[in-house]
Symmetry: D2
Subunit: 259 residues, 4 copies
């Protein structure tokens, strides 16, 4: 039609080639959403499990996602730097990932919660580019350190309230300016909680990685796994340090997948 010219106003948003794409989604207003649905504090295992289930759906759909890291109301999906899905169009990648995650979250809600949905959950999404593996790893480190910091704070905060009988305000004041070791100390001396014994999923967050089958021979250097091979790979959920070299050294195939 004579109106078709308006299509040309669309901007071409191809992301720089050979660069790692990270798509991070984060729950909108989950402060309110978690309250309304009476989430356990500071961590609700049902929610974390639902988040992980939704992330699994996304990983299964997009074979060019190599691994994913999630905690709280967020999830980061790390793409192979050579992905050409949607010609690397930013809007397409971000919106589709975010939409599929949301779809899986809502659909699977009843499998994890008895309470029905009282309001609609939604997520925002963004793409960030990282040009080399070193800064990509720092990205993942950033998220995992953030998880740790928040969790230590929240664990102590809610212990002070739930077990110590403090008000929110008092607990906040109490923790103001305390460093990591002091929070450990508060937990231990006042509430007999050894933070190190807290669940790993709380302390480390969740990592989805693809895993080649045992008998699968890795492609030789400079070669890649085929899409078919990637589809056949298993998906494993971990709650370990992604900061330690150990994580990467013991999974050399990750570098092949990321390239």
């Amino acid at each position: 039609s004579r109106f078709e010219y308006v299509k040309q106003y669309e901007r071409i948003d191809r992301l720089l080639p050979e660069t790692y794409i990270v798509i991070r989604i984060d729950g909108k207003g989950f402060h309110k959403f978690t309250k309304k649905h009476e989430f356990e504090k500071p961590n609700d295992l049902r929610c974390l499990s639902l988040m992980n289930a939704a992330a699994r759906v996304v990983m299964s759909e997009f074979t060019d996602i190599v691994l994913a890291y999630g905690d709280s109301d967020e999830y980061s999906f790390i793409w192979s730097k050579s992905t050409e899905l949607y010609e690397r169009r930013e809007n397409k990648l971000v919106s589709h990932v975010c939409s599929l995650f949301t779809s899986a979250f809502v659909f699977n809600w009843p499998r994890y919660f008895d309470m029905p949905l009282l309001s609609l959950p939604s997520f925002d999404g963004r793409a960030v580019l990282y040009p080399n593996i070193s800064v990509l790893r720092d990205y993942l480190n950033w998220r995992q350190v953030d998880c740790h910091i928040n969790n230590l704070y929240n664990t102590t905060f809610w212990a002070l309230i739930q077990k110590g009988g403090l008000t929110n305000t008092k607990a906040e004041e109490y923790l103001k300016g305390t460093v990591s070791s002091q929070k450990h100390e508060i937990l231990f001396s006042q509430f007999h909680i050894n933070y190190n014994n807290e669940l790993e999923i709380y302390k480390k967050g969740s990592i989805w990685v693809r895993e080649p089958e045992e008998n699968e021979s890795a492609p030789s250097k400079h070669e890649k796994y085929s899409t078919k091979q990637k589809r056949k790979m298993g998906l494993r959920l971990l709650h370990v340090s992604i900061i330690d070299n150990q994580f990467w050294d013991s999974r050399p195939y990750l570098n092949i997948l990321l390239n």
Copy 2:
């Protein structure tokens, strides 16, 4: 933490101010999705109603959306050119709209379909900028003309198959090169279908508009409706020509909302 520097790799994606933002979402692989869920052909009223319900949720959430147009597996949301939501960040706007629409679609599915979801629906999204009202109207005209062309084709195509007993291939061949009037003629002479009597929702698609309350006095020139006023406005669903001046002339407040 010392990893926080990676945050600086995020690109600032503020959309040009004082320019109409259109966010269009479109079902991913709905060719397959509609088959799997045995949608009626060429139009499934349940799906159109569900799409409209999901669009309503989006309109309710974002008061800076003035109107929305949908047909088939897509919906376009037209924002006030002066919106400053999320500082006009493209990724935020696109992903949140797309996610909320998906959330509402999945959540409300059982209200419209007896069959449970057999696969997860998802949508892609994009933002397009239009610098003036004239080209913005051409955008809407484009979508509505597209709806009309597709619907006339599909209606004739499926009549040939369902009532005329043709195979898909035969029907396609039969229609190749035919113009609009010839399709009308085929429908009428062979199947006694007067295309003009088809449901308006099929022929025109769906339009959500905000509507001021009867007694609401419009703001005087250069003034705007307050967010409170916008939230109190009703939402009306229409299946009319958005191309005719009549649509715009009878709703002068739309220009105030769009500005």
Copy 3:
């Protein structure tokens, strides 16, 4: 060659259609450059004339530039919103304008200055988009008001130094916090300078406009001037208010050129 793939790393940087493009260039480090070449303070007519000559070259080269505004070490070029030069590629437009301006500046230097160039002048450039005529006019107003504010300040500042015998620091202190009327007063009472009698080129800056020939009939509404007609138009240099409606009302053809 097998290396050609690297070409695909170029980003497509088409500017939004039907939107006014402003390209502003500004002298790099002219604080130092003007000192080294002993420019007269606060305004050196030779430099302003050279800037205007260079801008004229740019206007002559690009017929889709409708008007240009310059003062101090900067110049803004206002393009027709429908220009399709270089497919509206930002890098191309900015770099070519900036390069041609620089070329003309260096080439014509000896026509305006006796002193040879002691260091190489250069300019930075940028493109800014304005979606409607009202904000485009505000852009021009912004530059002209800026010219006025700076010129009034500089005129008073240098009078205090050159005629009042103050040091730079003293003059700065003296002017701190003074408003416009106080500067007028200082000039008048202390130095018998009526600011209103200063040269218009200092107070208003410089405007290049295209001008149709007397007997040229303007194209009727919705029509445009042909490239040939634009090339035949004269170029006129003005030092008047671009803020007053009078400027625009007396040149209705500007709107045709800008569209």
Copy 4:
């Protein structure tokens, strides 16, 4: 002033950090420009020398440029991936490089040409990002191979015309479809020209590299040269293969500068 809000329409165009920036400039309409100024064919040494002189000025100004490659009417400037000049703003970098190059070209023209400038030379510029050293090297390879291909073609083409007496059209036809070895053969058998004996500057183009002083100790791993050290480095002009590993292996400090 109340017009200052228009400043906010400027887009933030920061280039991705830790990524190699290449700025390539190219003469506008040099086909015509070289004709008008009666350049020697196919290579005019005066022009190449002038281009190299202008590139030297750019290298001297911006210490974060590590090396530059030029041939014909173009020059590519390769920046350290960690440069933070102008906060990596694309418009700033491209326009300033392009403007300074132009300035130097015009200013130095009389040092290389007897004929005065009959028209104004200008250049366009663009920025391209490369995420790793391998693709960056492929970029440089691409330009040098391009130089070789064009030069072999042009040398044969102009031999056929100037020495063989063919018309332009005939020469073009004659060369259609010939491969590299055939052009070598034509040159040798018909004109006794051994292509390998042509000037290296024609065959390889020109490379500017920074060079540490002899006694300068390279910074140890992960360390960088200081700006002061970079400013003290010499600039050397080469006409060698940039494709061979030899170029890079014999200059390990280049990697330090590029990082």
